[in-house]
């Protein structure tokens, strides 16, 4: 295999193989910024996980967003979403969703205040 101009080696297995042909995760659609972390039992019971799923569980020992997972695996976000959704359903990952003030709105003022304090202190 020849690396492309960005040094990446071409993928032999089509991305849909990772998701066994499915395009939607069971459960809700995770936003790009949803953060995932490993649950305690993950790695010990992960013997039957496919390679990509194991990689996700391992990298999420430190918090990672769905977008970061996709970038690290070099797969489209949609593929990462399916894999992460399955791992969360299987109890391997904990998902931290954004908290919005009202439905589709942005974060509430309490969180915005903390964000402001945090950015100002830099």
């Amino acid at each position: 295999m020849t690396p492309d101009e960005r040094g990446h080696v071409g993928r032999v297995v089509p991305v849909y193989a990772f998701t066994r042909g499915r395009t939607r995760a069971a459960g809700q659609e995770l936003p790009l910024e949803a953060v995932v972390t490993t649950t305690g039992l993950s790695l010990n019971s992960g013997a039957s996980l496919q390679m990509e799923s194991r990689a996700i569980v391992e990298m999420c020992a430190r918090p990672k967003s769905l977008a970061e997972v996709g970038a690290a695996l070099r797969v489209p976000v949609g593929v990462a979403r399916v894999l992460v959704g399955d791992l969360a359903n299987g109890g391997y990952l904990e998902v931290h969703l954004p908290r919005t003030a009202d439905g589709d709105g942005g974060p509430g003022h309490e969180i915005l205040g903390r964000l402001l304090d945090g950015l100002r202190s830099r």
Binding site: T23, P31, L32, T38, T39, A67, R99, P107, G113
Partner: protein, 198 residues
Amino acid sequence: MDSVRVDSRRPPPPAGRELIPLKVLVAGGFGAGKTTFVGAVSEIPPLTTEQHMTSLSVGVDDTAMVPDKTTTTVAMDFGRITVDEQLILYLFGTPGQSRFWFMWDELAKGAVGAVILVDLRRIDDCFPAIDYFEDRELPFVIAANAFPGTEVFPDQAVRDALALPEGCPLVRMDAREPRSCMDALVALVEHALVRSLG
């Protein structure tokens, strides 16, 4: 801390802690400095996420208006700032080409707001972004990115040229300078906070 870059030795949040992700969009025309901005404040090297506009993609069943949806890939730069033990802020550079704007709704949902970068030599490029965020009543600030050789226009002239709504902050900045980008972010969050209280 003098630097706006986060200390990479900062310990990861302990397992079991509840984390709260947040996001800010970095918008503006092609070449306005979106990637530079994200790179200047991110604690990780900026990453690129791809959304394939194919039948494989999740949630794009309603994009039949995109003629070549079987081949299109939309790439977005993004970065991260760990704000405190619970808050993690993600910065997403929006896709620059207007025909990918259907993606913005997913990006914009739940966002703190947007920093709209403006190259004052080409202000027309940022009108679509301003229209978009005004329509959706999402907080935004205008960040006039100082490109070398740009004529200095007074604030009011810039506000008039952009037809900025009253109260919308206008900041002068240099996207190559982390401190300058952080100041623009602070201006956005201040603005969003005031609006959330109103």
